[in-house]
């Protein structure tokens, strides 16, 4: 990929300092994102995918804190930015879509009030110009008769339509990056497909880059260019969607894909990953997946590095599944 990089995250660490101890929700996450690219950030509950998204938006509240790492958006460093700097940035250059659109929408204000406010917070344009931009944004996400809908309140929309409005608001100031946190999880299949269709078109047409946070590997397979799999606060595997889903390196990715019922294995037992995710408060020494891993051995008591096993493909494992006969065995 030679496309220009818009977002570069290096060694991001966000920890929560609770009474029970330090929860390392995000612990050394690195990735980059190019223009027009969709990166699927996949993981189960508690894997740190949402906290990663919030960290990119500067939305981590105490007791959580961004401990270290760098977030570069178009060359500008965001980590350590004061609140005022974040305010100027959020919604203008980087925006977020939440699982529940009512996190974005104010229930007692009309859609036009909210949208015009969001535009005028960042750009010195007249109300009329802002209103026109709001109308265009609604039309772009496929809302029929946007002129009338501008005057409606959020409760007058269905769930799918509300999510479209939330996406339209995220698009208002033409950000470079959108962080989408499970935006279609609560929606029905046909409505989900409508949203995915709009999102796909937007990224292709406008060069918008997107981080799509989800637990649903099937959605990632259909939508994303690259995928990063998170487990216990770290990225365990990263690479192009096809390669990762067809021939995963990491045993966790392997197990995760085996857990999804698929067409050609009707009625067979699903591969199950034994046990459950470890508590972030008391992560084991070494590889955090070792306790559930069928390939674990003595080497796994040392934390493996995220290393490039093939061009563009990273995995954090001492014993990755090899597609070709290149396995040398032993620790890397």
């Amino acid at each position: 990929m030679t496309r220009e990089t818009v977002l570069e995250v290096r060694d991001l660490r966000t920890h929560f300092f609770t009474k029970a101890g330090v929860a390392r929700a995000v612990d050394g996450v690195s990735f980059s994102l190019a223009r027009g690219e969709v990166l699927g950030l996949v993981g189960e509950s508690g894997s740190g995918k949402t906290v990663t998204g919030f960290s990119l938006m500067g939305l981590v509240d105490p007791p959580g804190r961004l401990v270290s790492g760098s977030i570069r958006l178009g060359g500008e460093e965001l980590a350590g930015l004061p609140e005022e700097g974040w305010r100027r940035l959020r919604g203008r250059r980087i925006a977020m879509i939440f699982q529940d659109p009512m996190m974005t929408l104010n229930p007692v204000l009309r859609i036009d009030t909210q949208m015009i406010e969001a535009i005028r917070a960042h750009a010195g344009v007249s109300r009329e110009a802002a209103r026109e931009r709001a109308r265009e944004a609604l039309a772009r996400v496929g809302i029929p008769s946007p002129d009338e809908r501008l005057a409606a309140y959020p409760h007058q929309f269905s769930g799918g339509m509300r999510q479209r409005v939330a996406i339209a608001i995220a698009l208002l100031n033409e950000p470079e990056v959108i962080v989408a946190d499970e935006p279609t999880t609560a929606l029905d299949v046909t409505i989900q497909a409508q949203i995915l269709y709009e999102v796909q078109k937007l990224c292709a047409d406008t060069g918008l880059a997107m981080i799509w946070i989800t637990h649903d590997l099937a959605v990632v397979g259909g939508l994303a260019d690259r995928v990063a799999v998170m487990y216990a606060g770290r990225i365990v595997e990263q690479g192009p969607v096809d390669a990762v889903l067809d021939a995963p390196f990491h045993p966790y990715t392997h197990g995760l894909i085996g857990s999804v019922p698929s067409q050609n294995r009707r009625g067979e037992r699903l591969t199950q990953i034994p046990g459950m995710a470890p508590s972030l408060l008391s992560l084991p020494e070494g590889c955090s997946f070792a306790a559930r891993c069928p390939r674990a051995d003595a080497a796994c008591t040392v934390m493996p590095e995220l290393s490039e096993l093939e061009a563009g493909r990273l995995a954090r494992c001492h014993h990755p599944h090899r597609t070709l006969e290149t396995a040398r065995g032993g620790a890397a």
Binding site: V189, A193, S259, Q263, L270, I273
Partner: protein
Amino acid sequence: MSAAPLLALDAVSKRFVRRLDAAEKIVNLFGGNRREEVVHAVDNVSLQIAEGEVVGLVGESGCGKSTLGRVVAGVHAASSGRVLWRGRDIDSLSGAERREATLKIQMIFQDPMSSLNPRMRVRDIVGEAPRVHGLVSSGEVADYVDRMLLRVGLDPSYKSRYPHQFSGGQRQRIGIARALAVQPDFLVCDESIAALDVSIQAQVLNLFMDLREDLGLTYLFISHDLGVVEHLADRVVIMYLGRVVESAPAAELFADPNHPYARALLEEVPRIDTRKRVFQPVKGEIPSPLAPPTGCHFHPRCPHAMPRCREEAPALREIAPGRVSACHLNEA
């Protein structure tokens, strides 16, 4: 199917009525025109489930699938129509016979936290019903509970704990153990794995498949997740706005859906094997069940709608052995 089905629904409907309140009645006295609002949650559904069969009931939110499940499990009484258990109308049974029939049908809910009493210990949650119904004597309850917990893959030494001390997947296992404790023949699973993480979903799905094999259970498996239904079910019933639109053996349905809604729904399912696909969603949204469209409920969204579809509701017709579909197109 020649033998009498284990469970049959004969033209079952369930209506929910919002009665007029006092103020609205007074308005009517003065010439107002306030009417009661009626939702036909389940509209004239007939269904046969043979012993040992797994029937998947799918549809989007508001299609009435959960209501139908609750009618089957006896949580709601049907507004009209009959529920037949082994050929006998449950409503016509009385006393011990009725108790026995209803005990044989158990339900497993979506959210294990809200369906388990948070103030009861696991041993009481699982042990109470079999003791009350005289399935085991008080002296044997402890052993019996141990066996049930082992059966669903829980360590019996946890039985003095409370539900909040378990993880989501374990809680769902407690709910399953509670249902199994009264020795049912038939389980109604209402979105029973929807709230679980992917790897935990696989564990619970495998448990369902094991139980079917070992205990010969029959399932009505209600889900919006077509991938899961395809994996598990022998036969799939698709509902749209309270009516069954298609019912067919799972393999045939997924290979070649007949009803336009079934076709649209199956196409929208994100699959892990399809990559970078172009989403081509069905137009429009699910209409309000308060005011469903006339004729065929699907006609406003259907690409093949004809004038007739607006006026006349299509009946379910056999299109192949064991396969029915409700569409006017099949009559040409």
